[in-house]
Symmetry: C2
Subunit: 179 residues, 2 copies
DNA sequence: CGGCTTCGGTTCGGTCATTGAACCTACCTG
DNA sequence: CAGGTAGGTTCAATGACCGAACCGAAGCCG
């Protein structure tokens, strides 16, 4: 989408946003990054995205300052992709899209979001139903619902079967535990 | 996006939503429909979208119940595409995307949104800054900002240079006035 | 040392979607 | 009848995406 003919002519901040994150897979990569996915192979396994496309998306998201590539160990050299403030700022848009999907496409009971401080439900507007505060992303806990597959094939989906605070790194089971 | 390999494997309401509205141009068509654009040639002129793609998007959006095709005159037969409740429910997601584009891409001062009842600014959360109510789409007034081109080429952009209540049909100038 | 595995990619041929231009139909207007 | 408007369809070319294969650096196993 960023190549060739794009939305440049559009005088509209929605179009500007879609120029950056409107390509296929891009918003799902950002969603996973906010869920705490950080490593190439985890994105790969969870999304089922072609490797070449994932490489391209990670590169452009890094260039756009939505993800940050950082070395987390030297031997062997390993990098991880961590979502930046610019990336977490997409959370309201993702939540609103998810809300629409839940209500108008199907996907009830898949996941819900709670305020870590008080346990209240995070509404569509982003505020906590219990205490009324506008919940920052870091204080949101994703809670799996009954509609999820209870024994998914990929380790990332398995890790997401237990409640998980957003932004914190996801710990995937070592492969040998999955057998 | 809906064709071939899609996101069906994803157990996520965000992915479900993107299956429906994630293709190129689709969200911009919905945005225009919420702005009040209803006719084929108006979408065409405002978006700069290839005709074949516009036809495809209007068809799938109609099939998905996001737009409704309705005959508004018989001779000559003319149809218009009107956004449904299912389509207007995408407004929070579009507003959130626009907010992100404004803050993180550029596009300040293009447009703002006001509460028709009290004139207060509509915040990112969708509530009115002045009176605190959660503003329904039909009570939102789009107000053009100073960053817009003051003499755009297409009649839709020209019509959007004056404040405009969302959902109400857009009246484009007859061509002979544009000369 | 040799073989095997993991991680994080790149390369490649085939397929699918998008693009812009041209064309078409139905109707109206002068 | 010529020309214009509205709302499309068709088509060749281009670009994006797909899946599978390959690759290199590093570690681990015996």
């Amino acid at each position: 989408m960023a190549l060739g003919k794009d939305y440049v002519t559009q005088e509209c901040s929605i179009a500007r946003a879609l120029e950056v994150v409107g390509e296929r897979w891009t918003l799902l990569v950002v969603r996973d990054a906010i869920y705490g996915v950080r490593r190439y192979n985890d994105f790969l396994a969870h999304l089922g995205i072609p490797r070449a496309v994932l490489s391209a998306r990670l590169r452009t998201l890094t260039e756009e300052g939505i993800l940050e590539k950082r070395r987390y160990q030297e031997t062997p050299p390993r990098d991880e992709y961590v979502v930046t403030e610019r990336g977490t700022a997409l959370w309201p848009a993702l939540r609103a899209l998810g809300q629409w999907g839940r209500e108008h496409v199907g996907g009830n009971r898949l996941r819900s979001f709670r305020h870590a401080d008080c346990g209240g439900n995070v509404e569509a507007s982003g505020t906590c139903a219990a205490c009324g505060t506008l919940v920052p992303v870091a204080d949101v806990v994703m809670v799996p619902g009954p509609g999820l597959d209870s024994a998914p094939a990929d380790p990332v989906s398995r890790a997401l079967l237990r409640p998980k605070r957003l932004l914190e790194p996801l710990e995937t089971d070592p492969v040998h535990l999955a057998h």
